[in-house]
Symmetry: C2
Subunit: 231 residues, 2 copies
């Protein structure tokens, strides 16, 4: 693959869809699929075939007209776009509550090449223990350990009130990127990429889809009633 793109030119929506394609390709490969069309990939991921072709074209030419994509090859190429195989990303988590524990126990995250090497908390009862086999340290040790272990990604899973302070410490420690799960807007230096994940947004979206589905069902019922009335 020839890298013809500047990574900074790729839209957030494209990056998000590429991650979805990768998950889908991984699943298809496990199922033994060898080729697929952009139409099939589109249908499996809920976008249009044109969108699939457009997204992939940002990164190069992967398919042959008429024969579609080779699943294993496309998966390897998309993995490379996401830096998989390039490095195993060392992660740390700050905040060993229920969310932090849930995140550390995610096998999926490990499967994608991310590895937790340290957890941090303020609670003396947690410091010195292991959670999901990951050692829990005091937040006071964060800078030392992030530097010593060359930790790339810091995951913030503390309450909203502490999130900004934790982000500051992570940046001072030289972290390369941050995933923020705290419901708190955070500013970090522009050179440190940060993604904020707000799970409540998923509830909002679902409530929209429920209303949408129920409105459609009502409209269909009205048509059925009208049709039977006119018989």
């Amino acid at each position: 693959m020839v890298k013809k793109y500047g990574l900074e030119d790729v839209s957030k929506a494209t990056v998000s869809r590429m991650a979805t394609y990768l998950r889908c390709l991984t699943y298809l490969e496990q199922q033994g699929a060898s080729t697929l069309s952009s139409r099939e990939l589109a249908s499996l991921t809920g976008v249009s075939a044109e969108q699939v072709r457009q997204d992939l074209s940002v990164f190069g030419r992967f398919g042959k007209r008429g024969t579609g994509y080779d699943v294993a090859h496309l998966k390897t190429e998309v993995e490379a776009i996401f830096g998989r195989g390039v490095e195993r990303w060392k992660c740390c988590i700050v905040g060993v509550g229920s969310l932090g524990t849930a995140l550390m126990s995610s096998r999926m995250v490990q499967k994608w090449g991310f590895r937790y090497v340290a957890a941090f908390d303020r609670d003396p009862r947690k410091i010195g223990t292991h959670v999901e086999r990951i050692p829990v340290y005091s937040i006071d040790e964060l800078k030392t350990i992030v530097r010593r272990e060359h930790i790339a990604i810091g995951v913030i899973a503390v309450p909203a009130s502490s999130a900004r302070n934790v982000a500051r410490i992570l940046c001072e420690a030289g972290i390369r990127g941050i995933l923020n799960f705290a419901p708190q807007s955070i500013k970090v230096p522009e050179k440190v990429p940060m993604l904020s994940v707000d799970l409540s947004q998923e509830f909002l979206k679902l409530s929209f889809y429920i209303q949408s589905a129920e409105q459609r069902a009502r409209e269909e019922q009205i048509q059925i009633d009208a049709a039977s009335h006119n018989e």
Copy 2:
């Protein structure tokens, strides 16, 4: 607001951005902002001003040319689009592990009008207890309780191996929508909207942005070096 749209015509990406606008508007209202332009809303949410105008135009006319949007009014309208104020959505969670507990303790989800009224688990040590003040029942009681309490949303927070079975039971109980946090693809009847949330995707996206930022930094350094060489 005149409902001129068929809800089923709205794209997933638009719904997702509308949820982000709503979060942003809520924050701005708390900060005391009274008006804002599409450009400002765009800048705060990381999309183009044209995209903001296009998304909002799907649902009606909210702004005046030149004066922009009234924050409180726009927030109320977007809330109505998401059914907020229309009803308080009753939720149940299946799986009271660390993820289930983390989800139940999210204040943000409650703030948006979602309320957990029941949790379900198979573990006899958990059944009969309360987690975050929510009663934990046996999964055997799920159908009875979902029907009796008119629970709208079922949240799946069980391991991948049990997720499909739980989804089937929820659908049989007449659940109106499902949020699936298990790393397992699930099929449900088309009339039951379901969103699957895969937290590992956020790690993938972040690794892309880290590489992107570091590539940009290297390129800038090369330009600086070349410039100083040419001096």
